[in-house]
Symmetry: D3
Subunit: 62 residues, 6 copies
């Protein structure tokens, strides 16, 4: 759960595109295969990118 601020909303007939600016540092958990960890040689301290398809992101208000 990443806190942010809405930067843009664009609605179509069924779906809408919401752009959210994440400001505060936060921890995200990724569950990937053990094979990927080995293939990419992922270790503590590595610089990585978290890739998330926009259709997978839910939006809530607290």
């Amino acid at each position: 759960m990443l806190k942010g601020k809405v930067e843009g909303v664009e609605a179509g007939a069924v779906m809408a595109n919401v752009k959210i600016k994440i400001e505060a540092p936060d921890i995200i958990t990724a569950i990937i295969t053990k094979d990927s960890v080995q293939d990419l040689d992922i270790k503590v301290g590595d610089a990585v990118v978290a890739i998330i398809k926009s259709t997978e992101v839910m939006v809530g208000k607290e």
Copy 2:
């Protein structure tokens, strides 16, 4: 795509849990239903949370 640093890696037999610290501010796009935008009354400037299941997050190195 959010840039971060690996804070922890914990592997099982098949899957692994990778914790990533997101440091820099970044924009994330959420594709949700038009109905949700209306139900939650999402507008530019609103404080929101982006909710992402950990199994949906991919990890890459650049």
Copy 3:
């Protein structure tokens, strides 16, 4: 796989929103992290909610 009846269909240019009424009791399996089970203290008999993003739901006819 949950059996249901279509309550509404609303199509846009590319996507469509299908509302399905689930009537019969059924079992759903959730695969979550061991950490979440511990953080939420999930035990047999607990009342919980299963949260599913609408974009993740496929529809079939038997």
Copy 4:
């Protein structure tokens, strides 16, 4: 969001399998392609199945 009761919990090293019994009737929304609606000829009143991969289901307590 479907309300239910935990029927089983089985944890591995990283992931856990949680079986949830959904009891009350409820509405679930599926976002599918307009093409699928046409191919399957989905109309109000049709008997359908909602297919959800177990890794997509999140669990919460209220």
Copy 5:
């Protein structure tokens, strides 16, 4: 990651449908429950189908 060629693009207001022809043989990895492997009796050499919801597919150019 499956290599292919774009066969069709159809855009709406927010989303787009991209049809990709996969030509070369390739390996795809599926992470499913151990229970499903047992229920379906999945063994090396079996003919199977990989089922992927279209909203889960990302598209890239190399």
Copy 6:
């Protein structure tokens, strides 16, 4: 739905990794944002890659 043959199965306590060899040419549909189509300039005939997280792939037998 891509037809293939199981090349490997590796089970842990909860999850299993199933490797599937896709042999026949096939069409896969990707639902992405209109923005991505424009940013990547996706047109009919383009060589692209379909990227699918392994946790999103379901396996069936016909």
